[in-house]
Symmetry: D2
Subunit: 235 residues, 4 copies
């Protein structure tokens, strides 16, 4: 296969593996408060906003969203640090030969970091800086891929040969979460002026997160609305 | 409300909050082994059996089953010790008045424990023993319920008055899991001659577990088959 | 054994099963930012405050506190809903005969609940209300304990006889957590005017939590200081 | 800094961040079975073996071991898939410049994979195969490191420049677990003829695991003994 580069990352909802809804979240909450006025009289929007505002997080766990994510290894590494309420299956470099698809930033990707640790500001690079970045990525990827291929051809095991592949190599993984664990993820992996806490996500994982945020807002519109209006903090 | 006693416990699958299937488990597994012969050539039964046998547990997490459980508090206590891959919402004695429904064992419930700790054998009680059990349960429940009611009528908060209610009082909870966490639960909360490990579940939680096992075997027939044929051990 | 009542609940730190310190939290954080100015130049107080404020929660997981908790069953039930980063072992009513120690509120315990669900206000009860509460608790406990004893004497298994014991019965459990999971617990199970989020813990679990908070402030003083000054929100 | 290659991986126990012991595991178990003959009469070895054999896993969670791991990124990726009972902090390629240390297999590392997926056999490579492997690793690492350095010198942010670094680049992480989560890890990441289940760990993570196994056997000798004699299965 000939080597290709990509700047796009993506998370695609598996519509056939979706469970739950705003109504199911309300149902779970009502099991807890069976007979109480607050739960019975409130319609869904009010109840969900009440749960979010008062940090009653457990009803938001009774739903499932699964995503197929295509992103470079460095994104997968950051993503899979999310443990609670997350399940993963990723393409294995031991069991299969990886594909020659590599991540190269697009021109608009801010390349220069200013300020001190934890308060970095990213600003646009010059044409020269982008040119160097693009060139260095492409030639490093080509060299790595050739080395990988030559070792495979010499009969070296995939799990050894892949050592030379860069963290910019694309991988694919299937990630399953519930609305609560997804909100926790979104609160950390996106930034927003409306957020109660400032986050500094890396751009590439944020773009994956934004795909997931759109899918979430469609599948759980009232929960999403309450998430946003309560400072994007997971209850 | 007048007091009632029940011997039945139950777990009812919420069919509208179900996600996943044997096919989805295979799909997740195939993301991991993209391109490998083992995954591609195998049909679902073989692949699922292979995953189970070789302790590849992660593909079994991409599905959701939710149950509405009706059982006494002592069952809920044991049930909710299961943490990984489980979510719960239970009727709250703080936010709502509990209902006068109490658990009394049926005549066939073995009442007498023989042997030493961890190797108990349960045997049938005599008519006298059952009579005492039934009578003591009923009168203790009546006294507790009256005390609860009198405190509520005197204006005492529900969260204080409920102190006197026995662990045999029925509660309801909504429990959500994935196939992997469910198999772990079934391995511990049911007993079987086919099991690789001996379990000593209490009868009441086992009856709840058996309801769940039936629902599981319907929703994930090949996974269930592989679970049973591999010693009922969660991978 | 003759029946006794208690109003005290407690959590006692197991000093011999403690690991970690503010310094270890800094060490873990510095592994992540090896070589960065922020981590190297900052002394511990500044670094810990920085981590807390910017929601870098992971360094707070590298420590262990274990508590022996004595509290009624209804407290244990609420406590053990905390799953992530918590481990438990509790006295079993199946394997051992329970002890005749029961919870009765003290005179100062607010007994009357005003306001609507989720915004309850608790106010002091009258002497009459306290008298009724005390009397109803004591007689219900006596009846339950006698029924339990009579069934045990008749040869009925402990796991059946205990059905009649109230949720006000004292239990003991050994609970292990890390600083992060403890802070999450404290944020929900105590109330404070300084908190970023309002919590409505039940008084009995709050008293257990306050014991734990003291032990935490002694073992991890800088982490505790940062927890309090950042709104008692777990990062 | 000039580039260096290493074949060694390691996990070093942080002796100052250790908690728990065989005795503490027994203590936790005895809280559960207070008063029962089994727990009281048994000395530690018998009790621990009983717990392991009967899958009473919870007492094994009340302890802490922390390790500083030095290994290539591909090992870190596999390691951090362990979620339950594990905490991590890893050197960040966003916050710090990575070091030019890269993994190259030693001569004895089996290079050739035979058999079908999941039943691979690894056999020694020829001198030629090892020569190719070594040469391809070294030149790919040199090219990647130069590209990384040139981008950094051009003012490109670390989080962008690191894209070209291979998964064979060394990283460091601080990993904290409890005896139960460690046993689960060891059962999957080492292989042994005594094991109840066959595992196929990659050699590099197995070497890290073996360091951890030694530390575990020293800190929890009776627990380790029971783990081994019960088929290396985590209870």
């Amino acid at each position: 296969m000939s080597l290709s580069t990509r700047s796009e990352v993506s998370a695609t909802l598996d519509e056939d593996n979706l469970a739950g809804s705003d109504a199911k979240i309300c149902k779970a909450a009502r099991v807890s408060t069976l007979g109480s006025a607050a739960a019975e009289s409130g319609e869904a929007r009010g109840l969900i906003n009440y749960l979010m505002k008062n940090r009653h997080g457990s009803p938001f766990e009774h739903g499932q969203m699964s995503f197929l994510v295509h992103a470079p290894i460095f994104v997968a590494r950051e993503f899979m640090r999310h443990r609670a309420g997350w399940s993963y299956n990723e393409t294995s470099g031991r069991y299969s030969e990886l594909e020659p698809v590599f991540y190269v930033p697009q021109r608009y990707r801010p390349l220069v970091q200013e300020g001190k640790a934890g308060e970095y500001n990213f600003v646009q690079g010059t044409d020269d800086q982008y040119g160097i970045t693009r060139w260095e990525h492409e030639q490093a990827y080509r060299v790595a891929w050739s080395a990988y291929q030559r070792m495979l051809k010499a009969g070296v095991a995939r799990e050894v040969a892949r050592n030379v592949l860069p963290v910019g190599t694309f991988t694919a993984f299937y990630a399953t979460c519930n609305p609560r664990s997804l909100m926790h993820f979104l609160g950390l992996r996106t930034k927003s002026d409306d957020a109660a806490f400032k986050s500094f996500p890396q751009e590439e994982i944020e773009r994956v997160a934004l795909d997931m945020e759109v899918a979430f807002s469609n599948a759980f519109p009232l929960t999403y609305e309450a998430f946003v209006s309560n400072g994007r903090v997971c209850p």
